[in-house]
């Protein structure tokens, strides 16, 4: 399914590559919803729980220093979790407005759709239930959460013009004091095209 989408994405973009000045592939770590989840019995939270992510991006120059940067990414492992009966797929589609300066730096402000598909295998699980054991239904089927996110990003080219490092902060539910959350990414990007360098 996702390969299909990826190929459609690449096919749709390829005729217009001439209009874009860059194509990037990146990988790095993401910490989702920092501090929102308890991770052990003692009460610690997910402050430094990183997952790997991959992203594909391109850059379309609008003006001298301003570009539009569409981006697709997915979290790895894709589909497997600690739970043998639960599968989780997280992926996002972003669009950033990026400003470049001093020939090697870029800051960006963007928005995106962050999706998580959670899928259960069905059947039952026998678990403790106070006085004994009970068989609980395991969800059968998939459910997808959709979140509009606000994204702040910073990027700097390193060594050569092909490589850059990138940091992003994702804000979920910005307007809600109860379930507002933040994720961040740290990644290395390889640039197949000319980006900021003249």
């Amino acid at each position: 399914m996702f390969l299909k989408i990826l190929s459609i994405l690449v096919l749709t973009l390829s005729p217009t590559f001439a209009e874009f000045n860059d194509l990037t592939f990146g990988t790095g770590v993401i910490n989702e919803h920092i501090g929102r989840f308890q991770t052990n019995r003692g009460g610690d939270t997910n402050d430094f729980d990183h997952r790997v992510y991959f992203n594909l991006g391109t850059q379309y120059q609008l003006f001298e220093n301003i570009s539009l940067v569409p981006e697709f990414g997915l979290l790895w492992p894709f589909g497997t979790t600690d739970d043998e009966n639960t599968h989780k797929y997280s992926y996002f589609f972003n669009g950033h407005l990026a400003y470049s300066f001093l020939e090697r730096y870029m800051i960006s402000l963007g928005t995106g759709m962050y999706l998580t598909t959670i899928k259960g295998d069905g059947g039952t699980a026998t678990l403790p239930n106070g006085d004994g054991y009970t068989s609980f239904p395991v969800p059968n089927g998939a459910s997808t959460t959709r979140n509009i996110v606000a994204i702040l990003g910073g990027q700097s080219f390193i060594f050569k013009k092909e490589w850059s490092v990138k940091a992003q902060v994702y804000a979920f539910n910005v307007l809600s004091s109860l379930n507002r959350s933040f994720s961040y990414t740290l990644s290395v990007q390889y640039h197949f095209g000319d980006s900021l360098w003249k």
Binding site: N40, E84, T117, I118, D131, P137, T145, N179
Partner: protein, 269 residues
């Protein structure tokens, strides 16, 4: 369609764990509330052994349970809100939540059916709590119509034990039962609120809790304000994502036209 509801109880002491790992549900219909906001109401029942807790205290505890746990999940649309004190029949104090004794296949007792939202009552029928004062409370949707939960009931064991818990533990116990009330079963891992046993250091939801509540009540931004939908057959996610992608491509094309309009001689790279 026959729907099986399992009534969950919450134990203070530890038992052995089995090996299965997953978040679970507590009814075979995968039912959920369909309204945006679900109220937590308190039954106006005199509870002799909860003498340190007033109705307002219980409303406060329930509200804090919602706001500390379920309302914080970033990928869920569920919103549990403070309700009111409601006068109910004394059956809520004396009767069993199920009319049968099979906790795997509960037939809700018609006398205790909650017509809408979530009702918390105290109860002294020991059959609800396996005859043990260590089972602190039970909770379940007891009014399910197809895939819809219309109402759910939480019964606090009026054995006196709940009264002796710390405020944080009382909040966690109620939050655990709220999880059952909205359709969740237990989690295998002790860092989750839906673990069967009370843990005194329980401050936030765990990943199973978050996955479970997001599965039942997925956030559906930007179009759906409240409840999202669950597709029990196929995986809808990539389709949604693809639509968003198409929107992005459209935006890029519009921007390009716009740029050509502004700077017709701009050379593309």
């Amino acid at each position: 369609m026959e729907i099986r509801i399992s009534i969950r109880s919450f134990l203070l002491i530890s038992l052995l764990c089995s090996q299965v790992k997953a978040f679970t549900l507590n009814n075979s219909a995968a039912a959920s509330f369909k309204n945006d906001e679900i109220k937590i109401n308190i039954a106006e029942i005199d509870c002799p052994n909860l003498d340190n807790i007033t109705y307002t205290d219980l409303l406060d505890i329930a509200q804090e349970a919602a706001n500390r746990f379920w309302n914080t999940v970033p990928t869920s649309s569920l919103e549990l809100v403070r309700g009111s004190v409601q006068s109910v029949s004394s059956n809520f104090y004396t009767e069993q939540i199920c009319s049968n004794s099979d906790t795997n296949n509960c037939t809700p007792n018609a006398a205790l059916v909650v017509s809408s939202d979530i009702l918390i009552s105290c109860n002294n029928n020991s059959a609800n709590f396996s005859g043990s004062s260590h089972v602190l409370a039970v909770g379940a949707p007891n009014n399910i119509d197809g895939e819809n939960i219309n109402g759910a009931l939480i019964l606090i064991n009026d054995s006196g034990t709940f009264d002796t818990l710390s405020r944080d533990e009382q909040i966690a116990v109620i939050a655990h039962e709220l999880g059952h009330a909205v359709g969740l079963g237990h989690s295998q891992h002790d860092h989750n609120l839906m673990y069967y046993s009370s843990v005194s250091t329980r401050y936030k939801v765990g990943e199973d809790d978050s996955d479970g509540i997001s599965w039942l009540y997925p956030s559906g931004q930007p179009f759906s304000g409240g409840c999202g939908t669950i597709n029990l057959v196929d995986n809808e996610g990539p389709k949604n994502g693809f639509l968003t992608f198409l929107l992005g491509v459209f935006l890029i094309i519009v921007m390009r036209k716009l740029r050509n309009l502004i700077r017709p001689n701009y050379r593309a790279f």
